[in-house]
Point group: C2
């Protein structure tokens, strides 16, 4: 790619060391699939970005939608080749400078928009299913930050560092009290007797866009969906399990290694397949 990053609308590859995203993780990001140059679930991503920015006291310009749309159009126009699928990453930071943790109102945000290749999964996890591995790293209970896709992601980095084997496409992460939370990079769902379950995200976790859409599809199709606090043992009796995010769509889970002596096994079920095809029919994945 000739130019794959714009910072505040300009072709740049780097941010000042004084950026508060680097110094403190004071910022947000969105990871969006581009399908034939169209940003999937664009409105949903922008809505989350704006909601989360408010919670993190990051003042977005009123025309942020327009600015990001212009950035995307400009980046696409600069590509010599545009593959069918790409990944768009938007990062918003609280800008540069300030004395320590305090920041003046006059400091403006930094807007970073990057185009990246779509990852290739040769093992076809959407069709074949994946194995999960239970991580020892726990997510702290932090209601003030729960749901936000912010730049403080050390817990995810540490959880993901726990395995190197390509046998595991994702890790299962619990909260500090031992309840199911999410994957390191994805949200978690399971189905039992036709009811869909997912962990509540009021204390930790990321309020994923595909998770939101799955909740919407369940409502539209009369599938009962319950979110709450569940122990890992709840997965023992699940009929189907899957994880999801904006790049992978839905990955069915066919194995979960809880520890050396305890592996759950299952198969890809009808609810998972229905949700996958529903998302596909909407042009989403």
């Amino acid at each position: 790619m000739t130019c794959n990053v714009l910072i505040n609308g300009q072709s740049e590859q780097s941010v000042p060391v004084t950026d508060r995203g680097l110094a403190y993780g004071h910022g947000l990001f969105e990871t969006i699939t581009l399908n034939q140059n169209t940003a999937i679930a664009w409105i949903a991503h922008l809505t989350r970005l704006k909601t989360d920015a408010e919670r993190l006291l990051i003042p977005l310009p009123e025309n942020i939608d327009q600015l990001l749309e212009q950035d995307l159009a400009k980046l696409l126009s600069l590509q010599s080749v545009t593959p069918d699928r790409m990944v768009l990453k938007i990062t918003i930071t609280r800008g540069c400078g300030g004395r320590g943790y305090a920041v003046e109102d006059s400091v403006s945000i930094n807007r970073i928009v990057q185009l990246n290749p779509f990852p290739h999964f040769s093992d076809m996890p959407s069709e074949q299913g994946i194995s999960l591995r239970l991580c020892a790293t726990r997510l702290a209970i932090a209601p003030q930050l729960a749901g936000i896709k912010h730049l403080n992601r050390l817990e995810q980095v540490l959880a993901r560092s726990e395995w190197h084997s390509s046998d595991f496409r994702e890790g299962l992460v619990l909260d500090a009290e031992g309840f199911l939370a999410e994957g390191t990079m994805s949200n978690l769902f399971w189905c039992q007797n036709g009811v869909l379950y997912t962990p509540e995200l009021d204390r930790c976790g990321v309020n994923g866009i595909v998770r939101q859409r799955i909740i919407g599809i369940a409502e539209e199709h009369g599938i009962t969906l319950v979110s709450g606090r569940y122990t890992p043992e709840c997965l023992n009796t699940a009929d189907e399990i899957f994880v999801c995010n904006s790049v992978i769509g839905i990955w069915p889970v066919i194995n979960i290694v809880m520890n050396e002596n305890d592996t759950l096994s299952g198969s890809i079920g009808p609810v998972t397949l229905k949700l996958q095809s529903r998302l596909a029919a909407e042009g989403i994945y």
Copy 2:
């Protein structure tokens, strides 16, 4: 200043957008006072940096001490004027790239060394004492990250955003369970009947270098020091209260506004003065 930043030993002002410090806060920092071009408590800072890097799986080069010493010497040689005091900030990030949260062993760290002016406090807080304000933002209980001066500092940013009045030099922050933790940028101590108290940092908070030194001085001078979990009410009966960090040294606390109707008031006491003069005698502040 002509050049005040070196990145990996080179004069630079910016880091690539792919830096994992920016993307995930996967990194550490140290803030060090330079007193007549000498880095105060240099060994203690380097020791913490190395300990914390290991906990965050950040592989430091074996000669990191030497590299940082060279960086500092080079930065100083490039200054046209070197004031009596400056602030040296060292940031180490896990480097650039990687696919998502996973990082290859081959990725090398980024080493950012900055010289900044020493802050001027016209209200002479070391001598006059300061007012603290109790923050609503709580620190999550996260033993895996506790003590580390890492780049995931959203809690501190949010706590510091709670007030704008210059009447308050610092905020008092509790942990998620309501126990005393620290200041937004400093560690907390108080003294009662000759015994020095400080919150334990096994679940949250930063293991401050001045805090470490104060614990050492207390031992050397036969002052009993106890660290543990304490409620804010413990401060009601304290004889002396102070906060500390590597730039401010020790600031006596003479007021704490707990809420609109509840303000603790006190005065600067002999233990605080003794510790201040002890640090000064060691050339530290």
